[in-house]
């Protein structure tokens, strides 16, 4: 059966998940690992004694939308911070992230407890070199803290595609 993009758009655009609270509060160790990967030794993120002397009073998380997604997800394993993919059916199961836009309203501190709401904004088909029937998905994630203050909104655009072998096989079957 062929993929019906119009039916998928009709069913999924505007879909919103229930607000989900992260399993754990924001932890120093998650922030440390994030900083370590890019050699960021900023004491505002890493040193509680230093951070306590600043206007913030506690270590901050770097203002990365990706890190906010990790901190607001349901725990370190299994990783569930990209849960939109299984929600929207697509012909291909491979993912490439294309762009991200993050609007920040508040800082994230160690000890905060975040929640997230995810929303499908758009779904469309646009071919790429690997797959002429790639499906692009635009989603928003709205992250709030334990005071129900909005922390940030993350708009993410990613595409899903088939492998070259899957594209070739589909050509052979006319699917």
């Amino acid at each position: 059966m062929s993929y019906d993009i119009d039916a998928v758009r009709k069913q999924y655009i505007g879909f919103e998940t229930a607000k989900a609270r992260a399993r754990y509060p924001v932890e120093h160790e998650t922030i440390r690992r994030h900083c370590h990967m890019v050699e960021d030794n900023n004491p505002l993120f890493l040193d509680p004694a230093y951070a306590a002397r600043t206007e913030h009073g506690a270590c901050l998380a770097p203002q990365s939308g990706w890190l906010a997604l990790v901190l607001a997800s349901l725990g370190p394993w299994p990783a569930v911070f990209e849960p939109l993919f299984p929600i929207v059916p697509t012909p291909g199961k491979r993912i490439v992230n294309m762009s991200q836009e993050v609007e920040w309203s508040a800082r994230i501190k160690a000890g905060d407890h975040l929640s997230a709401v995810r929303r499908i904004v758009d779904v469309y088909q646009k071919g790429i070199t690997i797959d002429p029937e790639a499906v692009w998905i635009v989603s928003d994630v709205i992250i709030t803290n334990q005071r129900d203050e909005e922390v940030c909104t993350i708009r993410n655009t990613f595409l899903t595609h088939r492998t070259p072998a899957e594209v070739e096989a589909a050509r052979g079957t006319g699917a």
Partner: protein
């Protein structure tokens, strides 16, 4: 004892200013650091066979890693009191093992917006093969000297 970043104030910023760059070698160790630091276990970012089967030439660095490097350019510069209001970027080319990723930023505008001291930045990453691989833009709120 740890020392924080030097605080930069809105009055001290000039359009055209370049921010200090950040360069990172992309190698096997960095792939592991990426998975740990981003908690992104999608194999296209560390398993060459998986990446090639998907049609890619090689494994490539993920969004979390790229964003962390871009953010680091900004936070290294803006100091403890700075605040990133907005960041947007596109993944147009890949960072692969053997590349050196260099992230840079430049001040493109400086405006008082409804009493808020805003600075716009062009921020981007280069991979050494394609030039700009990740174009982006950001708006940062900085403290004013008179308020400090």
């Amino acid at each position: 004892m740890n020392h924080g970043r030097e605080q930069i104030y809105w009055e001290d910023v000039t359009v055209g200013d370049d921010l200090p760059e950040v360069s990172l070698d992309i190698n096997t160790k960095r792939l592991f650091l990426q998975a740990s630091g981003s908690q992104d276990w999608y194999p296209v970012h560390f398993d060459p066979a998986f990446a090639r089967k998907a049609g890619h030439e090689e494994v490539f660095m993920n969004t979390g890693f790229i964003q962390a490097a871009l953010v680091r350019v900004i936070t290294d510069w803006m100091g403890d009191a700075g605040f990133i209001r907005r960041l947007r970027f596109e993944m147009r080319r890949q960072y692969r093992p053997g590349d050196t990723m260099t992230c840079r930023a430049r001040v493109t505008a400086k405006e008082d917006r409804d009493g808020v001291a805003c600075v716009d930045l062009e921020v981007w990453g280069e991979n050494g093969r394609d030039g700009v691989a990740t174009p982006g833009e950001a708006t940062v709120i900085l403290p004013r000297r008179e308020a400090g």
